[in-house]
């Protein structure tokens, strides 16, 4: 979810429904579930208050989900992101690691296939595809986005989703209001995804929107632990706001140019390896050193 929630925050039905693009009914059900799990409590003045930090809540819900065989695909993705699995997996591996039934393992693989995360390989194996968050896939991901994201802004049908834009803006400004070196990269990544999804959704071109949303979905998967410096994160958030400003003033060309600049600055990678007297290497050496 593209909201910056913390323990003690009010869980406002309307905000949550807007953020998730659903009606209030499923949100009410979800809030009742959180209350039952001890992650939310009813507030005296009505509504609910978050009773734990979102990461802890995620973790508890994920454990329940895996236990119930519901979110096996998510567990596989997290383990893949943490490099706990091989590049190729099969049903037997999954049954052994997650203590699930054959049919649950099969369903999880089909879900991952539909997400574009795995591909069928020889025999009974499935191989993970390269993700935008992988070090080896990151530059390609930026190059892909450099082609499409400015174009999304320049698309004839581009119409900013103002409700979402207001949410993104307030989330971004709240982060920027925090003191120096106080927000972490996960908070930034959430805000970053919310902004870039907003641009994709607003493009007015269903094909552009769907391909960008799918790519951002892959970016959201665990594993991209590259870390950013506080200054650059703030600078990137400022760039988001600048792009929104240009769009709101109907300066779409400037917004598209600013998007290109933003992506180019973000794709910079610190040197892979450096040593006194040697030229610093930016890309990884090909293959592992063994």
């Amino acid at each position: 979810m593209d909201l910056d929630l913390h323990q003690g925050d009010r869980l406002v039905e309307k905000t949550l429904a807007d953020s998730c693009s659903v009606s209030r009914t499923p949100i009410r059900s979800a809030l009742r579930l959180l209350e039952k799990e001890g992650m939310a409590r009813k507030a005296a003045e009505g509504g609910f208050v978050l009773e734990c930090e979102p990461e802890k809540g995620h973790s508890i819900l994920n454990q329940h989900a895996v236990g119930a065989g519901v979110d096996l695909a998510g567990a596989i993705l997290r383990d893949r992101g943490a490099r706990r699995l091989d590049g190729a997996i099969n049903v037997t591996d999954l049954i052994r690691r997650y203590s699930v039934s054959r049919s649950a393992a099969q369903r999880a693989l089909e879900a991952l296939l539909a997400q574009g995360v795995i591909q069928k390989a020889e025999g009974q194996s499935w191989v993970f595809t390269r993700m935008p968050g992988d070090r080896s896939g990151r530059i390609e991901s930026y190059e892909f986005r450099l082609i499409l994201e400015p174009q999304a802004i320049l698309s004839d049908g581009f119409k900013l989703d103002t409700k979402r834009a207001d949410l993104v803006r307030s989330q971004t400004e709240a982060l920027l209001a925090q003191s120096e070196n106080s927000f972490n990269s996960q908070d930034f990544q959430d805000a970053d995804l919310a902004f870039h999804k907003l641009i994709a959704r607003s493009s007015g071109n269903q094909y552009l929107a769907s391909v960008l949303m799918a790519h951002h979905g892959l970016r959201h998967l665990p594993g991209g632990s590259f870390g950013m410096i506080d200054f650059r994160m703030r600078q990137a958030l400022d760039e988001h706001l600048r792009i929104l400003d240009f769009i709101e003033q109907d300066h779409f060309d400037l917004a598209a140019d600013q998007m290109r600049l933003h992506l180019r600055l973000s794709m910079h990678q610190r040197p892979s390896v450096a040593n006194r007297g040697a030229p610093a290497l930016v890309q990884a050496t090909r293959g592992s050193i063994r």
Partner: protein
């Protein structure tokens, strides 16, 4: 805050290694907060590192810049050639590793000279801060005050009472120190002669054998914290030399991730960007780590995509905001890089050092001598030794208490501010 127009320009020129680079970032952050205008002169490939912290950068052109492909090839060859050398005794590294690296350092000094001179003319800094192991004549010839940062182990600044630089020997081993010193001077003799010739051509004084960088007449900043400092034969002039208690930069917070096995003490492991290229070494560590009831955060650098089957109590990342991580951990396993060692001390965390080159050997030896950590040799460590060393350090209440007290001293010293002030003190108020 100083007026921007009046803000002194401080030009940092760190060597192309993360230790020096990030050490300078810490000082530059403080200078910026004090109203100065820090900028960075950068070696090829390091562009963007300092911009990410919000600093202006000036790339120093070299005479023959390698293409990306040539740089790739350089590193492939460097690693395949030198990885076996990292498992050698410091004495055996003199000809296999230290000599070629010094050769490369001198070549770098020669190749950037013209570009550095041009860059300094353009920037016209009030002070140059050199965090390196060699002098670049353009700095002296610019007639600008310059500050030397000694961010390697204290042994970088020789003294009769100190063991020789890069030896990993205790000072008490007089015969061993003498033999190492002789071999060092003999091995580096031709390179040193070449460098002195270069200096002479540029109008600089010759340096004594084995030395590639003079002390600054203006200010010299040494990172070595008092807890590991040596007694010197020649006491350093406190007006010209300032001992810092480390020099730790600010980074954003770090949230320790949940792991499938999420119990026990938190151990952080980092061997620097060069050490991270040795995937097999890390995999051999995994075999031990997975048997322990602890959580391990491991900096595996650019090789992260090479790993699979990572144990459930191990979390890999290609980069960490290291000070924020060390602050939360119970033990730091590292290569003896001076920044890592100082950060461990700054946050009161014991060090387990497995050095593989350069001053890592000296820091490992000093960690043992001063009881702030333990050392294992890369060439002969065993699973049992590693496990025992980890358990010993985690269970040593006396060391923990002493490190906590020292951490308080180091943090109270506010060394980054002190370093920044010493640099500002070098600004000539009458300079136009």
């Amino acid at each position: 805050m100083m007026n921007r127009k009046e803000a002194p320009v401080i030009a940092f020129f760190p060597e192309a290694s993360f230790g020096a680079a990030l050490n300078c970032v810490g000082i530059a952050q403080e200078l910026r907060a004090m109203g100065a205008h820090p900028v960075f002169l950068t070696h090829g490939g390091f562009g963007g590192v300092f911009a990410d912290y919000g600093f202006d950068e000036f790339a120093v052109p070299v005479q023959s810049e390698l293409t990306e492909e040539e740089t790739q090839t350089y590193w492939q060859e460097f690693l395949s050639h030198h990885l076996p050398h990292f498992n050698m005794h410091p004495t055996d590294q003199l000809t296999t590793y230290v000599e070629p690296v010094w050769n490369a350092i001198v070549e770098t000094a020669e190749s950037v000279e013209q570009g550095l001179e041009t860059a300094l003319e353009r920037i016209n800094p009030d002070v140059v801060v050199l965090d390196n192991v060699i002098m670049f004549p353009a700095i002296v010839r610019s007639e600008c005050p310059w500050v030397r940062v000694i961010s390697c182990a204290e042994t970088e600044l020789p003294d009769n009472c100190l063991p020789p630089y890069l030896s990993g020997l205790p000072a008490s081993d007089a015969a061993g120190c003498a033999a190492f010193r002789d071999q060092y001077l003999e091995t580096l003799g031709p390179i040193h002669a070449r460098y002195n010739k270069f200096r002479q051509d540029k109008g600089l004084e010759l340096l004594p054998e084995g030395e590639f960088l003079e002390t600054s007449p203006h200010q010299n900043l040494l990172l070595a914290p008092s807890i590991i400092r040596h007694d010197r034969d020649q006491v350093l002039d406190s007006g010209q030399f300032t001992f810092l208690e480390g020099c730790v930069r600010q980074e954003g917070p770090y949230r320790v991730p949940q792991m499938p096995r999420n119990n026990g003490p938190l151990v952080y492991v980092s061997f620097g960007s060069l050490g991270a290229m040795d995937v097999s070494f890390f995999e051999s560590l995994f075999d031990v780590f997975k048997t322990l009831d602890m959580r391990f955060l491991i900096n595996v650098g650019a090789q992260i995509d090479a790993y699979s089957r990572v144990p459930d109590n191990v979390h890999l990342q290609e980069w960490f905001p290291q000070p924020s991580v060390v602050e939360q951990c119970d033990l730091f396993i590292h290569h003896g890089g001076n920044n890592s060692f100082c950060e461990a001390l700054y946050f009161g965390v014991p060090s387990l050092i497995l050095p593989y080159c350069w001053d890592g050997h000296d820091n490992a030896q000093r960690a043992v001598e001063t009881s702030v950590g333990l050392r294992l040799n890369r060439w002969d460590w065993t699973t049992e030794q590693l496990e025992n060393a980890i358990n010993q350090l985690l269970g040593d209440a006396e060391m923990k208490s002493r490190l906590a007290a020292n951490s308080e001293v180091m943090q109270l010293r506010k060394s980054v501010q002190l370093a920044a002030q010493k640099i500002l003190d070098c600004v000539n108020p009458n300079r136009i």
